[in-house]
């Protein structure tokens, strides 16, 4: 039963991914953006849903990834695949350094420090003209000719995002995912079960940062540029909202949230400039009426995030 369900899931997933290719260009571009933010959000949820850590600074790694990829492509002769791969690695390195300090703190202090580091990244990108182009940003990032068409780029993004997501899925269903959940449920007890809690949390932080960096690189390629706003705290808020909207208790919930939010944004902004108030209303509805996000409406109250089975 489970196997048939899973096979159906794969087929559905493949169909969904292929669908935009048949639509007009506008939707292809929209879908590309959805995939990128979806990837970002799923990686973010490793921290929030699985690790129970609220980071206000993941945009830092998104921005670092974007700039790394953009700078490598524009200013060095590095081959395309290397530049794309370098982005999550550099972002993960930043996450390692930042995370080392952040993990030592809890709750609001943790969140505030992630915010502080992220703003430092933003401010540096904003002001270091020589390196990043300052607030003009980095423009004219070259991408291979083969990917310059929207459909080709969409396919590329789909493959990369799906691959990274699959890697995360493996990690989350592997013992590491259980460890994170245990820490989230009862960090003290996890410590007394022999789990090095700090190391597990740092690992999650680095993984999440790396995925954010990959998403950032994809977005830099998508927009042919990198800008300081990519690292501003509102980007972190955006990914947080997407995760909560979709639901942090289901692995792909955040991706759904990302898709929904981008779609809603696109629809609403086409006939009014007052998107923030709509977003605010959605957020309030989310908190008061359906906490747990859209997926909880369908999946119902489950014991724990995806992977909560036993016996």
């Amino acid at each position: 039963m489970a196997d048939r369900g899973r096979a159906a899931g794969w087929v559905l997933g493949a169909v969904l991914l292929a669908l935009p290719l048949a639509l007009p260009q506008f939707y292809v571009l929209l879908a590309t953006e959805m995939l990128i933010m979806g990837l970002f959000a799923v990686g973010f949820n490793l921290l929030l849903g699985y690790g129970g850590m609220v980071s206000f600074g993941q945009a830092a790694f998104y921005g670092v990834g974007a700039y790394t990829c953009g700078l490598l492509l524009k200013k060095t002769g590095l081959p395309f695949p290397a530049a794309v791969l370098a982005a999550p690695l550099v972002a993960a390195l930043f996450a390692l350094v930042f995370g080392f300090f952040c993990i030592r703190l809890t709750r609001i202090y943790f969140s505030m420090l992630t915010l502080a580091f992220s703003q430092i990244v933003w401010a540096t990108a904003h002001k270091w003209y020589a390196l990043t182009g300052g607030d003009n940003g980095l423009i004219g990032v070259p991408i291979p000719v083969a990917l310059s068409g929207p459909r080709a780029f969409y396919l590329f993004t789909a493959v990369v995002a799906a691959g990274a997501t699959w890697g995360l899925w493996r990690a989350v269903n592997a013992p590491f995912g259980r460890t994170l959940l245990a820490i989230r449920e009862n960090a003290e007890r996890a410590e007394f079960v022999g789990i090095h809690v700090r190391r597990a949390q740092l690992t999650a932080f680095v993984l999440s940062g790396g995925v954010a960096g990959l998403a950032g690189a994809l977005f830099a390629l998508f927009t042919r540029g990198a800008f300081p706003e990519y690292a501003f705290w509102t980007k972190s808020a955006e990914v947080l909202l997407m995760t909560l909207l979709g639901g942090p208790h289901v692995f792909l919930g955040p991706a759904l949230g990302a898709g929904l939010l981008i779609l809603l944004n696109s629809v609403v902004t086409s006939f009014t400039e007052y998107w923030p108030v709509v977003l605010g209303a959605i957020l309030l509805a989310l908190i008061y009426l359906f906490p747990g996000g859209v997926t909880r409406l369908f999946v119902g109250r489950s014991a724990a995030p995806a992977g909560g089975e036993g016996g």
């Binding site: 609220v54 300090f101 030592r104 703190l105 809890t106 709750r107 609001i108 202090y109 505030m112 420090l113 915010l115 502080a116 580091f117 703003q119 430092i120 401010a123 540096t124 904003h126 002001k127 705290w233 509102t234 808020a237 909202l241 909560l244 007052y274 923030p276 108030v277 977003l279 605010g280 209303a281 957020l283 309030l284 989310l286 908190i287 008061y288 906490p291």
Partner: protein
């Protein structure tokens, strides 16, 4: 970077220092409300910048109604800040009360939703263009300090800051309300157990905090640009002040405001390009070395 001669001129330094202090007083007014709300309610009120912005816009509009009258500014300041206080009280009662039992993140998100809504509401009512208020006639000039012109209005703010701080201190230490507030900041649950109407207390504190924010906005109206987006600009700096000074500590907020104010004033002078990084670096350093801030209560990390 100014040449060394001007920089070492004590008059110049003095004026810069006063500039920093002025900015500090603005920051203190706004951040004090934030600190109070966090200390008592435990809520990090993202919407505080929005209340500040509301105060600025309302003061501007009210003053515009009385244009020509010397009392315009004062009436606008008082009425505007009180109006914001009322808005604050309503907001707390309607939006925050249902989520007190929930997780901190959800409370924070409610305030963020309010930021979005208020921001658009302001844009809807007043439009997206910049406005600027004007100073009252008696404060419009400048005073000579160490051979340099220093705006009288800034002196006024410099005087008002400590006055408000004193007023708050008196309120907290001498009144029944203040006693309750301090008790609740120490132990929220106990206060409810001993029979205090916690909801009313929370609404009261939030109203007070909102009033402070609105007051800050009303005072800022004549000197800065009034524009949608000033809420976001000010809230992050307020967070930094509260973090550096110590969350929930009013004296810490004052100290934090002074530190940040001076850091900004001199930072822009010494490293005009990178000045904005300093405050964030300071925030990070404080959180790493001493998370509870300069004057906060040490907590387990």
């Amino acid at each position: 970077m100014p040449d060394l001669g001007t920089f070492l001129d004590p008059g110049f330094l003095a004026v810069q220092c006063l500039n920093g202090l002025t900015q500090a007083m603005f920051l203190f007014l706004i951040a004090s409300g934030l600190s109070l709300i966090f200390g008592v309610l435990g809520v990090l009120n993202f919407a505080h910048g929005s209340l500040y912005m509301l105060g600025a816009y309302l003061s501007y509009t009210i003053a515009a109604h009385f244009v020509g009258s010397p009392a315009a500014f004062w009436v606008a300041l008082v009425v505007g800040s009180l109006a914001v206080a009322v808005v604050g009280g309503l907001v707390e009662a309607v939006f925050l009360r249902p989520v007190y039992r929930r997780e901190e993140l959800e409370q924070l998100l409610v305030t963020y939703a309010l930021v979005l809504i208020i921001s658009d509401a302001v844009k809807f009512v007043w439009g997206p263009d910049n406005r600027s208020g004007s100073r009252p006639a008696i404060l419009a000039g400048s005073v000579e300090i160490a051979g340099r012109a220093f705006p009288t209005y800034n002196l006024f703010v410099l005087a008002l800051g400590p006055l408000v701080a004193l007023g708050l201190w008196l309120l907290l230490s001498r009144t029944q309300f203040g006693r309750l507030v301090r008790a609740a900041a120490n132990d929220r649950e106990m206060v409810g157990v001993v029979g205090t109407d916690v909801s009313r207390l929370f609404t009261g504190v939030f109203t007070l905090g909102a009033w402070l924010g609105g007051l800050g906005g009303g005072l800022a109206a004549p000197v800065g640009a009034i524009f949608p987006g000033m809420d976001v600009e000010v809230i992050v700096e307020s967070f930094i002040v509260v973090v550096v000074g110590g969350m929930g500590s009013l004296s810490g907020t004052l100290l934090g405001a002074i530190v940040i104010g001076q850091l900004n004033a001199f930072g822009i002078l010494l490293f005009p390009r990178f000045a904005i990084v300093f405050v964030y670096v300071l925030m990070a350093v404080v959180l790493v070395a001493r998370p509870w801030g300069l004057l906060g209560k040490p907590v387990t990390r």
